[in-house]
């Protein structure tokens, strides 16, 4: 097997007596789009801070682009790009100024910078003027420019921490086209998101809970493992029948999805009886589990 992009064995990070990351072992291959999911506070950002060379682990082995912390954190930082959740760009500087500043921090020679920034702005199809202030850009475009800033030093691996939080649905679709474009250029993309439709775009997904890795696999594998029982989409075209919530709870587990409900049927007989009793008041159809279903099931209850 070729050298992985990221390899951790028993990665552990403690802050005082709080264990933020607890014995995480995973392997990400080069060119993968790797999704990193988990509840707020599950240890995702802390793990990323280790993998980007910003934080030394308390225990465990870490290899990023073939380098360990023994090679020095700076060596790791040179091989990775990081678009953080909180800070990405200076809003009172222009697009060009932000990129120049990022390039200066990375000590990128002027000629290389000119060529790369032109290439990357073309990659994101940037049509505005480079002298526009970042604060005047719409949220989606701001994130795309942040991505450019994270790519200026041509890293092998790009870490994106919730890159699409709060941007519009169309802008999210665009951003994921860029992510696929990066993978096509041979980059490894390590991405966190709370949008489960985006998680489905990843080749493989790791799911974290309370600092520990609780599942790892392709979206398909995770769905099959999380839902051995049949799953139904249920909705009531008019007012729902009295007592429906309790009746349903006896047949399976229920989660709201917009105007509809997803029911994991534990007791098929009871479920069939209910549907017969409700008649046309309820409409149900068998569905495949979504990653949102998987997430809710595993993060709320032990896997």
């Amino acid at each position: 097997m070729s050298e992985p992009a990221v390899l951790t064995e028993g990665l552990t990070v403690r802050f005082g007596n709080f264990t933020a990351v607890d014995g995480v072992s995973l392997r990400v291959e080069r060119g993968e789009i790797f999704g990193f999911l988990g509840a707020n506070g599950a240890g995702k950002t802390t793990t990323i801070r280790v993998l980007t060379g910003l934080l030394a682990p308390t225990a465990g082995r870490v290899e990023v682009a073939g380098l360990t912390f023994d090679h020095g954190a700076d060596a790791i930082k040179a091989r990775v790009g990081y678009m953080s959740q909180k800070f990405t760009l200076y809003t009172d500087l222009t697009v060009a100024e932000n990129l120049e500043f990022a390039a200066a921090l990375r000590k990128i020679p002027a000629g290389v910078f000119r060529e790369r920034s032109r290439d990357l702005l073309r990659f994101i199809d940037f049509r505005d003027r480079a002298d526009v202030l970042v604060r005047d850009l719409p949220g989606g475009l701001k994130q795309e420019v942040s991505l450019v800033a994270a790519l200026l030093h041509d890293p092998e691996i790009v870490f994106l921490d919730e890159p699409t939080a709060g941007v519009s649905p169309s802008a999210r679709v665009r951003f994921w086209e860029l992510i696929r474009g990066l993978a096509a250029r041979g980059k490894t993309v390590f991405v966190t998101t709370h949008y489960m439709d985006e998680a489905g775009e990843c080749g493989r997904i790791a799911l974290m809970r309370a600092g520990a890795l609780i599942a790892l696999g392709t979206p398909r594998e995770l769905k099959d493992r999380a839902f051995p029982e049949p799953l139904y989409d249920l909705h009531f075209p008019a007012a729902p029948p009295a007592g429906w919530r309790n009746d349903l709870a006896a047949a399976g587990t229920v989660q709201p999805h917009g105007l509809r409900w997803h029911v994991a049927v534990r007791d098929p007989r009871r479920w069939e009886d209910l549907l017969a009793r409700w008649g046309t008041a309820a409409r149900a159809r068998r569905i495949e589990a979504s990653l949102e279903d998987v997430f809710l099931r595993w993060v709320e209850s032990p896997a």
Binding site: A39, P138, V167, S168, P169, H194, P256, L259, F295
Partner: protein, 239 residues
């Protein structure tokens, strides 16, 4: 409880129109979702409703029962939670609640039960001594919401309250919103999550400062012949 009516509301910044002739009725005990692309005017509308901006044209009317209320009477009844919130990183959850009690001059006998209820509803009671700077994203948002609720407002204006909040915490946040709505509060929120728009009593789709569609989510989707709001966005060619 308070109702809000906006009539031909417009707002321009340095001559550039952000909102154009919006009219809407917001009744107490209802939950409204504003959706639309970046820059559509969602935050501007919320800031206008919160009294942080003044309309360029048109008007906003706040009413109790049928009587219009003067702004001085309205203001203490409104709570507004901006998109990026500044809580005090080194104050604990409990200290935040105390601080906002003092800020809003909430009497002690009203404060205690309210504080206990909010801590229970948000499931933050076990974290009452944790500094805000060490809360996860979802907990931080819930603390922000509690600070907004400590004065027991009639109207809750929330600008993308669940951005960066994981699916489980987002569900808990919505359970809480439904409780408040059922208590009679008027809740108006902007959201980037299309499933949240479907969970509101009324959804309002905004683009370039105008309504594109609005109404009970089910009716809007049926009328437009789409399965969900994301599809409607793409169908309308919204950026």
């Amino acid at each position: 409880m308070l109702a809000i009516r906006v009539d031909e509301l417009g707002k321009a910044f340095r001559g550039r129109p952000a909102l154009n002739g919006l009219s809407a009725d917001f009744a107490p005990g209802t939950l409204h979702g504003l959706i639309g692309p970046d820059g559509a005017g969602k935050s501007t509308l919320l800031r206008l409703l919160a009294g942080l901006l003044r309309p360029t044209t048109g008007r906003i009317e706040y009413r109790r029962e049928t009587a219009p209320l003067p702004w001085d009477a309205v203001r203490p009844r409104l709570a507004y939670m901006p998109q990026t919130q500044s809580l005090y990183a080194d104050l604990s959850v409990g200290e935040h609640l105390d601080f906002f009690r003092d800020l809003h001059a909430v009497p002690e006998d009203a404060y205690r039960p309210r504080r206990d209820r909010l801590l229970r509803l948000t499931r933050l009671a076990p974290f009452v001594d944790r500094p805000a700077g060490q809360l996860s994203g979802g907990m931080y948002k819930k603390l922000g919401l509690m600070c907004a609720l400590i004065a027991s407002p009639d109207v809750l204006l929330l600008d993308e309250p669940t951005n960066g909040v994981d699916p489980v915490s987002r569900r808990e946040f919505w359970d809480l919103l439904y409780e408040l709505r059922n208590d009679g509060l008027l809740v108006i929120l902007a959201t980037a999550y299309m499933d949240e728009a479907e969970r509101c009593d009324r959804a309002w789709l905004l683009d370039a400062g105008r309504w594109i569609a609005h109404g009970p989510p089910r009716e809007v989707l049926e009328r437009e012949g789409v399965a969900g709001f994301a599809e409607l966005f793409i169908r309308q060619g919204l950026p």
